[in-house]
């Protein structure tokens, strides 16, 4: 049984929680041209991704706007998996096909047949270890292994969207319910609880992880979104590079983290003001179950984006005092 967002959130931070995120999309890129193809598609340097590892990346359009943010898994030089947002599966697939050109790649959408179960929290390793012979100790953060969980072919990835140690499991959908139940059973003595997308959102927000459609969109490029570590202008040419070079030279906006000084809860789209002048808007906001404060991220004029800047958030036509703080609110606690 699901409980409440706060309970699920705190359980993830202190014990472990299991999330059904099968709605996420999985796109396979296979063939000799995979590396050069992906190098053109993403803003990060695919050559920096080692075999058996995954990393966070961004796909842009020619204007530098964000098509999607995703995780890329490198099985070998000729086989990659892109894990994309549910709402953008079709768009991403079309975007990849449209830019396939002469690259020697095959692009497959395996989203419908693939289930994804995340087990996150300090107890996650002990729980999953009960169900697999593969020694999870060997798996470092952002490494993955094609192995089995109770005889079911599974990709076990040590990664997640919560700021805790944990695993993302990819398996055939036919086996998902059985594996889900078995994990729940194995997790009983570790106080494992199922958690939903509400907790997933507050967990990622404490870590300042972007969520597509909020911090990122076709109108918000990754530089403005504050994830410039994903943009490698010095690598080979890629879609959106020219636009991003230009944006970098005269960047006007930046996504920042803030916390309310007064009691209150910032929400998406609330206006951000500095000295009564509108300087931006909240992209995500919530009550942090860990800090017990109103926290959020906002896209603001870069001239007012310094840490320590005092700002106001307009909540139902009342101004609430807030201050820009360093990202994230909660640092990764895993291995």
């Amino acid at each position: 049984m699901y409980s409440s967002v706060i309970d699920e959130h705190l359980t993830t931070r202190t014990k472990a929680a299991i999330f059904d995120v099968s709605h996420m999309g999985e796109l396979m890129i296979e063939g000799k041209g995979s590396i050069t193809f992906l190098q053109n598609m993403i803003t990060r340097d695919i050559n920096k991704l080692k075999q058996g590892r995954c990393f966070y990346a961004v796909m842009c359009n020619n204007n530098g706007g964000t098509i999607d943010d995703l995780f890329i898994y490198r099985f070998n030089d000729n086989k990659f998996m892109l894990v994309v947002n549910a709402g953008t599966i079709d768009k991403d697939f079309k975007h990849l096909i449209a830019n396939k050109e002469n690259y020697e790649v095959e692009i497959k959408n395996i989203s419908d047949e693939t289930a994804k179960i995340d087990v996150q929290g300090p107890e996650a390793e002990k729980i999953i270890q009960k169900l697999t012979r593969y020694s999870l100790e060997e798996l470092k953060r952002f490494e993955f292994k094609e192995t089995t969980i109770q005889n079911t072919q599974t990709i076990i990835s040590r990664s997640g969207y919560t700021g805790e140690d944990g695993f993302e499991l990819y398996l055939k959908k036919e086996k998902a319910a059985e594996i889900w139940n078995n994990i729940l059973e194995a997790g009983k003595e570790h106080n494992l609880k199922p958690a939903g997308l509400g907790a997933r959102d507050t967990l990622r927000l404490e870590c300042c992880y972007s969520l597509y459609g909020h911090e990122l969109s076709e109108h918000i490029n990754p530089l403005e979104a504050g994830i410039s570590f994903t943009v490698k202008l010095e690598k080979q040419d890629f879609i959106g590079r020219k636009a991003l070079e230009k944006i970098k030279q005269s960047q006007k906006k930046l996504n920042i983290a803030f916390e309310l000084v007064e009691r209150g809860i910032p929400r998406e789209h609330y206006k951000v003001l500095k000295d009564n002048k509108e300087i931006g808007y909240v992209t995500s906001g919530t009550m942090s179950p860990i800090l017990k404060k109103g926290i959020g991220m906002a896209l603001v004029d870069i001239d007012h984006s310094e840490i320590g800047t005092e700002i106001d958030i307009n909540i139902r036509d009342k101004l609430y005092k807030a201050v820009i703080v360093k990202k994230p609110f909660y640092s990764y606690k895993g291995k």
């Binding site: 967002v5 507050t202 209150g264 919530t286 009550m287 179950p289």
Partner: protein, 130 residues
């Protein structure tokens, strides 16, 4: 089943009101707090505020959403439950007692006739929870 005390009056928007002579004590129902789950912030009305029946009296926020608390009656806010500023979760723990939101000096007692009895409210929530 949610708890619906007999002696209170209710609105279709899930507020309750307890009448003490010309004062009405207002809060949200057990059904409402259950639907909201964890209440994490309550925006209380200012003392002296003139409120109208069925218009915004306060706002109650859970992690995920903001909900209006509509005033069951017209009148003047004479007290707000300041305890909710520090402990908004009191609404989850004791919505009909310590979790009251505001006290209103009733302007027109005739308005009370349009409120729901416990029995009517039971029917409403019974049909909504199906």
């Amino acid at each position: 089943m949610s708890n619906i005390p007999e002696q209170l009056k209710y609105t279709k928007d899930h507020e309750w009101i307890k009448i003490e002579e010309d004062i009405g004590i207002v809060g949200i129902t057990d059904y409402a707090q259950n639907q909201l789950t964890d209440v994490v912030f309550v925006e209380l009305p200012e003392i002296g505020k003139q409120v109208e029946k069925d218009k915004n009296l306060a706002n109650v926020e859970s992690v995920k959403s903001v909900s209006d608390v509509f005033s069951p009656i017209s009148g003047e806010v004479i007290e707000a439950n300041e305890k909710l500023s520090d402990s908004p979760e009191t609404i989850n723990k004791d919505c009909y007692g310590e979790g009251w939101i505001a006290k209103i000096k009733i302007k027109d007692k005739a308005e009370l006739d349009s409120l729901m009895s416990a029995e009517d409210y039971k029917k409403l929530t019974g049909s909504e929870s199906h």
